[in-house]
Structures are given as structure tokens and as C-alpha cells.
Symmetry: C2
Subunit: 389 residues, 2 copies
């Protein structure tokens, strides 16, 4: 097991009606905040009105900035930073899913930085300070409500890049599973793929003797696999939505990565896809992760056997571990299909004419490798895209 | 699933050599601290000298208070509070296991309270403030390094009582598995029983549809069961000790209890034992938990079937769920025996002449019930003690 620091101060306020606490939770941090959100969904469901009422009741004034979109853009982040500075705002309240939260995190970083916020995402500077932010979560998927990460897309070159730092963990996350009842099936499924990917990125490691976190990863995966189809069948089943929602947080608050070295190649390979095509991140992961697995499983067949046996209940063929490993990958693909996700680029409406370009961008023109379980060159990444066609 | 708040700000610094960071971590909180510990163990192993050197190097001065013993006493807590006040100390550094940490937590509470610290443990007052404290952990067991709880024994009447509040979570916990190499086998085993009990108290719940935390509880239990015998066979195997140590924290930082209502009867029944007899808490739990299970399993046979199947790998007899449930309990007892723990009062050298007295104390003379999975009266508690004879 590797040395680690685990420091997660996000206060999780989970359950029915918890959005009514947003005013008092926010008031503990600031009197005037930026209320950041996405499109009209939170208006239509009445959540926005509820949040505003709670803020007013607690004596918190706010400036609004909507418009965060899937694969959130740096242009809107810059706009938010300008507003924050002009209005002397000290706290950001993000109401929405991962895109809104990631966008808010970028603003939190940029507001206290003299240069351009994109510097953090290009690795030019390390974060040292950020405004505090809070979350009312509406989409269980990205885990950004308690994570250290933020992923932003720069329209200039369509680069999708991430920034990770412990100061980016939100101060609180209000999570009412009822708010997810209205999520369309496809978005529910994309969220499921995203949280599963967050676990699997940590699961496929070369670090030995990490059975505790192995078991915890497998446990969370099994529970997501159990509840996801039910979330599609019974979208207003509170307990089903609650288990999924909490799993999404645990999948990515890094508890499951403690003492391990994660891989993250699939995320980086996927980012090029959804950076260019504006595909849902979860759908992209459902396409890329199985292809990545098929490409790398021989590196540690026994880990894939364990994945097949413990996560998917595959009865191992002890004389043919490869067969067992491949059966685990097949089950994962089958599961993604069952919940309505594409598992091939073609099913996502993506042709094979820009694979070279994406492989180049992903590896900085072949100057770097991606991943840790197996270090992938540009040629490897291209081969994985081809397996996914 | 129940509504919950999960707020755990303890910074975990885990791994080889991490005790050398104690000075800088402490310095972030205070320039002068109370250094609290137990007996001579940390002197003999050289840990105390290392901690002192790190504190000095960071420019932190300290006042020492040793002498915390298993089932830590309120008299020493009062002594600590006096020192803290006289010396104007603002931070407590606990170096040791659960007893030292619980003792430090009590001092942290009492130092900022006008009345007697025991009031908190008798439920006369609710905690509202506490001094911050940090931990260098030497015994994986109680989980106090990241928990909200503190258990103290009052010599006046030998009452062992607990106080729980989120402000009691330590600010940091330094955890180097190498520091546990020198733990005697019996103490290692007692720690294992304690952490398993912390999980099982949360596991046996009447709340339905909590599969995610069910699975996480089962996962942690399986990993502890896997590594515990190896910790006895290979006490200096780093990875084995590391998995056990981290499991002890996760078992009791309340992640595994999120959305559930735990039971805690076994802890309360055990506290009367170790309050009177000064038995190791983990050994007492190894005696009481199986007895509690035998007494209550009919309340929800299927939950015990799940426990047997998923935790112990029992192949369920679908025509005879009770048989499966009992086999799970038998496996738990067998496991405790295998790692060298008593599973009967007689094996712990305790006779049956004070069972009535303990049942009375545990239930406040029959005026309250204990537990939540099944609410136990004084007669029930007495029956459980008798099953444990």
C-alpha cells in the first residue's frame, strides 16, 4: 500500500428536503454569493425558486450566472470571474450537476489569481487558493460535489483539461435524491457510467496488497450495478435514487483510491472525444472503458479475473484466466448496453476520421504517455480508439 | 435510506515515516500543546523521542501528561484539564491508541466548560465547543482517530459512558502502520474485534434499501477477516498492518453508517463488563456480540442470512434460513477464537455473580432500553449476559 493523505472536509447534507437548508449553510460562509447554474431545468422543477427563497430567508444576497453547459466552457468561467471581482463576491453556490460545479470551481480558482484561469488547467501554475463554494446537487455522476477535481473545455482548440487540488473540495454538498427523479433515462445512465468509471480508474492499479480498497471498490460497483436498472424502471423510487446518488459521491471523493495509484487513461482518452464532439462524458466512458480493457488486460490478467468474479459474479475458469477476464469485460459492455448507453463510437454517431487527431492531442503529439496501469503511447491510444469504432 | 449529515474533516496522513510530520501539522494549530500519552510503550519504541524532536524542530513547545490507561479514567481527564487551563494550552496532541485519544477528547471538551467534564458523559449537557486535537495513532482498534466519540470511565461507581459529537473529530491523524509492528498478538486481536464490532453495530439495522452501505460494511469486514490472522502470523508485514489500520478508521468514521440507524446495544452491554472488570474492550465485544446475535437473530433472520453469506461465504440453505443465520454467528465465534480471543465470560475469567448488577446499570435500573435493531429491556440484557457465561 502506498502512503497517502486523505482530507475531505465537504459537509454532506443528504436526504429529503435538505435543499431548504441551503440558506443557512451558505450564510455561514458569506452574505453575498454568486448563484451559478446551468439551463432551465432547475427553473422548471422549481428548485431555483426554492434555493432563492432559502437564501433570502437567511439574509444572503446573490448575483446570478446561469448557462453552464455539459463540458463547461472556459469563456463562461471568465465571465463568472469578472462578475465575482466586480461585485466583491466571496462565495459561489453551484446548483446543478458536475458541469455547473466544475465551472464554479474554475471561477473559485480564477477569482483569486492574477493571470488567466486556463493556466491552472494547462498545468502552468499550481493552485494555492480558491474561493469557498457550496453545492446543491441535481445529477449524481461526476462526484464533483466532494471531489478535488474540475474539468473545463477551452473552445480555442477544443481542449478539455482538468485541474485537481484539495482546495477545490466544496465546503458543503446538499443532496436530495428527489431532485434526481426528473433526470431523463439517458442522463441517469450516463451518470452511472461516470461513477463506475471513477471507481474503475482507481481499481486498475499495479499497487499490491490493497485488498481493503479493492473490496470497497467492488462493493460500490456491485451496488451501482444493482440499482442502476431499477433507477431507469422506477425513476421516482427514493431509495434507489438515494443509493445511486451517494454512490456517485463515494466513487470520486478519493476514499476508494487511498493507498493506490489510479490509472485515469480512459478519462484522458475520453476527454478528447467529448471535447471535440460534445458527447456526454458518461457515454464516452461507456465506449472507451471496455476498449481500454480489451487493450490492456494482458498486463495483469488476474486483476481482470478478480474484477470479473467479484464485480460481475463470473464463475472463474481456473484453467483459462483470460477467458474469465474477457467475460468480465463482456459483462461490463452488456451492462452499459442494458442501461441504454453506446459502447461503440459508431453507436454514438462518431466516425473514425479524427482518431489520429485525438490520439495526438491526448498524448501531446506523442510527447507524453497517459495512464499508470499501463503507460500508453500515442500509438496505443490510437489503437484503443480503433477498438472502439 | 434515512437522511444524514456526514462531515469528517480529519486529515489522515497515512504511511511509512509519517510521524515525522507531527511537528509541522501541530504547528498549524498551536505553538504550545499538551502531549498526552499512555504508559512506557511509546518511550521504549522510541516514538516519544521522535515526536518530541519533530515538535521542537517545528518550534512547538509542549507540556507532558502520560498515564492514560485502557478504559481511561475521568480523574486523569480532570488533571489534564487543570494543566491545560493553568498553562494556557490551546491544542492537545494524543500519541497512542483509543484510550489516549478518548482521554484527550474529554480534556478538549472539559477545558472549555465551566462545570465538571463528566456532565457531558452523563448527557447533562450537549457539547458546543472543544479544543482542537491531533493524533499519532499506535493501535488500530477504536477508530477514535477520526470518530466523533469518546468513552470514559468514572471510578466513582465504575461507570463507563460515552459522549458523541462532531466537534470531537481530531484535526489530523498520523497513521504509520510500522508503529503497530510491536503490538502484542492479543492486543492486535482485540483491536480487530473492536473494529469489526463498529461495523456490525451499523450493519444490523431495521432501515431497508441500504445496499450500498451494506456492501461497504461487508467489504470492510471481509478484508479485516482476511488480514487479521496474517497480522498475527506476520506482525511486521507492512501491507497487512496497513490494511488493518486503515480498516479501523473506516469502520468508525461513520461513512459505513450513513443513511442507516445503528444498533449499539452490544457496545453498551460490553461497557458494563469492561467498566467493572477492566477487561479489554475488544475482548469484551468478542464475548458479547455473538451472544447478542443469538438472542436477536429471529428479529430479522434474512439480515443474518445475508451476513452469513456475504461476510462469511456461507452457502445459504434456502430451505432453512435459521440454520444459515446461525452458521454465520458460529463462524464469527470461530474467527474470534482463531485469533485468540475469548467468546465466553468464563474464558475471560469472569464469573456470573454480577450479571444482575450489570444489567441494571446498563438499563439505568430498567428505566431505559438499549439498542435499536431490537430494543432490549433489563431482562433481555440479563439474558444476553447469561448466554455469554
Amino acid at each position: 500500500m502506498e502512503n497517502f493523505v486523505f482530507f475531505n472536509c465537504t459537509k454532506i447534507i443528504f436526504g429529503r428536503g435538505t435543499e431548504e437548508q441551503v440558506g443557512t449553510e451558505t450564510k455561514a460562509w458569506a452574505d453575498k454569493v454568486l448563484l451559478h447554474y446551468g439551463g432551465g431545468h432547475i427553473v422548471r422543477t422549481g428548485l431555483k425558486a426554492k434555493v432563492e427563497e432559502s437564501l433570502k430567508k437567511a439574509g444572503v444576497s446573490y448575483v446570478e450566472l446561469g448557462g453552464a453547459q455539459p463540458n463547461p466552457r472556459v469563456s463562461l468561467v471568465r465571465e463568472g470571474i469578472k462578475i465575482i471581482r466586480e461585485q466583491g463576491i466571496k462565495f459561489i453556490l453551484a446548483v446543478g450537476g458536475g458541469s455547473v460545479i466544475d465551472s464554479a470551481k474554475a471561477m473559485a480558482l480564477g477569482a483569486l489569481y492574477d493571470g488567466d484561469v486556463w493556466d491552472f488547467y494547462m498545468g502552468k501554475v499550481e493552485p494555492t487558493q480558491a474561493l469557498p463554494l457550496g453545492v446543491v446537487l441535481t445529477i449524481p455522476a461526476a462526484g464533483s460535489e466532494a471531489s478535488t477535481g474540475s474539468v473545463i473545455t477551452n473552445e480555442d482548440g477544443w481542449l478539455k483539461r482538468s485541474c485537481d487540488h484539495v482546495i477545490l473540495r466544496p465546503k458543503f454538498a446538499i443532496m436530495n435524491p428527489e431532485l434526481t427523479y426528473t433526470l431523463p433515462p439517458y442522463q441517469t445512465a450516463c451518470g452511472v457510467a461516470d461513477m463506475m468509471a471513477h471507481i474503475m480508474e482507481r481499481y486498475f492499479t499495479n499497487v499490491r496488497e490493497v485488498d481493503l480498497t479493492d473490496q470497497l471498490c467492488e462493493a460500490a460497483l456491485r451496488s451501482i450495478i444493482k440499482y442502476a436498472p431499477r433507477a431507469l424502471e422506477e425513476p421516482e423510487n427514493y431509495d434507489v435514487r438515494a443509493n445511486i446518488m451517494w454512490a456517485g459521491t463515494i466513487a470520486h471523493n478519493d476514499l476508494l483510491g487511498t493507498g493506490r495509484i489510479g490509472d485515469w487513461a480512459s478519462h484522458m482518452i475520453e476527454h478528447e472525444l467529448s471535447g471535440i464532439y460534445d458527447l456526454a462524458h458518461g457515454a464516452g466512458l461507456a465506449v472507451i472503458f471496455p476498449a481500454w480493457m480489451k487493450y490492456v488486460y494482458k498486463h495483469d490478467v488476474q486483476r481482470f479475473v478478480q474484477f470479473a468474479a467479484r464485480v460481475w459474479g463470473v464463475d472463474p475458469d481456473y484453467h483459462d484466466p483470460e477467458k474469465t477476464a474477457l467475460e468480465g469485460i463482456r459483462r461490463l459492455e452488456e451492462f452499459f448496453k442494458r442501461i441504454g448507453l453506446p459502447t461503440r463510437l459508431s453507436e454514438a454517431g462518431i466516425t473514425d476520421d479524427r482518431l489520429e487527431e485525438m490520439a495526438a492531442k491526448c498524448t501531446d503529439n506523442g510527447k507524453r504517455t497517459v495512464g499508470s496501469f499501463v503507460k500508453l503511447t500515442k500509438a496505443d491510444v490510437l489503437a484503443i480508439y480503433r477498438l472502439a469504432v
